[in-house]
């Protein structure tokens, strides 16, 4: 989980950027250079997909144009979610469209940028990685705590069963106790791959949030 976040250098990012417009990519490179992020740019989605698949742990943030030909931003979001890449995805669009943003967020995007992009966006873009990292960490702790609680409860139940039965428990009772230890009892726990950001921000180049 911590592969996409480095506690030693919390603002060190390696960004993957996909946009059909080379000018947008130039602007992204400029912004990244200013804040010492590494960046790899693509004007086509499929080559970017190949690179991502071959280098899963190398990128900790993805910038994606919503309206790419071929595999567009929405399909890309689905691909990222399905193949459980940890890198948060920020989508970009030249139009401010509430519905597009809604679609992107429902598919897992963590932010929605309207072009033309401002350089200031890159100053705080690391916060998306940090936020996801903190959420994952908390979820992991919660899962561990839940497992601990379940273990403790089952231990107590064992004690109760043994004492109420009196003699050594029959094999059926033993089986029942054993099967409860197989996994988390609560089926509602979300898995790490399907997390959605707690906070949604819409960033325009006129006002920040």
């Amino acid at each position: 989980m911590a592969k996409y976040y480095s506690e030693k250098s919390p603002t060190a990012l390696t960004i993957l950027a996909i946009d059909k417009d080379p000018e947008v990519l130039e602007l992204i490179k400029k912004g990244c250079n200013k804040y010492s992020y590494e960046v790899m740019t693509f004007t086509d989605t499929l080559p970017a997909v190949d690179v991502l698949r071959g280098n899963r742990d190398d990128f900790n943030l993805i910038l994606m144009d919503l309206h790419m030909p071929g595999m567009d931003g929405y399909e890309f979001l689905r691909f990222v979610r399905r193949e459980e890449f940890f890198a948060p995805v920020i989508v970009m669009s030249s139009e401010e469209n509430r519905l597009s943003a809604g679609m992107a967020f429902l598919l897992g995007a963590c932010d929605y940028w309207v072009k033309p992009l401002g350089e200031y966006l890159f100053q705080t873009v690391w916060t998306h990685v940090y936020r996801k990292y903190l959420n994952e960490k908390r979820k992991q702790k919660d899962n561990e705590k839940l497992e601990d609680d379940n273990q403790k409860r089952e231990t107590n139940e064992d004690a109760v069963v043994v004492s109420s039965v009196g003699e050594t428990p029959s094999s059926e009772d033993g089986d029942v106790i054993e099967s409860n230890k197989s996994g988390p009892v609560n089926p509602q726990l979300p898995s790490a791959g399907s997390s959605r950001p707690q906070r949604r921000t819409k960033t325009k180049n006129r006002k920040g949030k």
């Binding site: 399909e75 689905r78 399905r82 469209n97 509430r98 519905l99 597009s100 679609m103």
Partner: protein, 151 residues
Amino acid sequence: MDRNQSRRQVAAMKQSLFDQGLLDEQFIQLEELQDDANPNFVEEIVTLHYRDSSRLITSIEQALKERNPLDFNKLDTLMHQFKGSSSSIGAKKVKAECNLFREYCRAGSAEGCMRSFQQLKREYAALRKKLEAYFQLARQAGPQETACRSK
């Protein structure tokens, strides 16, 4: 009701919406984005659209009332947003009406705008009703998805 029969009805209803020219390819794109992680995606997006667009309709109505003269730029901007939202769900006929409205804006025809807007509202309401019926039927036929509705 037999599950397969329900599903056939849903498919038939959907096909009819396409045959009537009410929906286009974009609706199919939405369906293709729906999966286990987003089992109600299409309905969620359509719901978002109607929330979003009803606000725009109110704004356009307001703007049409502010005559002497009509602010065609404002109307065009609002309609542009409305068209974008309608396009996103594949509302083919509504989108065509949007284009017509914008042409009247550019021609500076108040009469044209008013007439076009009335027609647009009719198409909009008609599609909304049909989509509501469609999703209700789809939910009842409920195939692979769980019935959990998002807020």
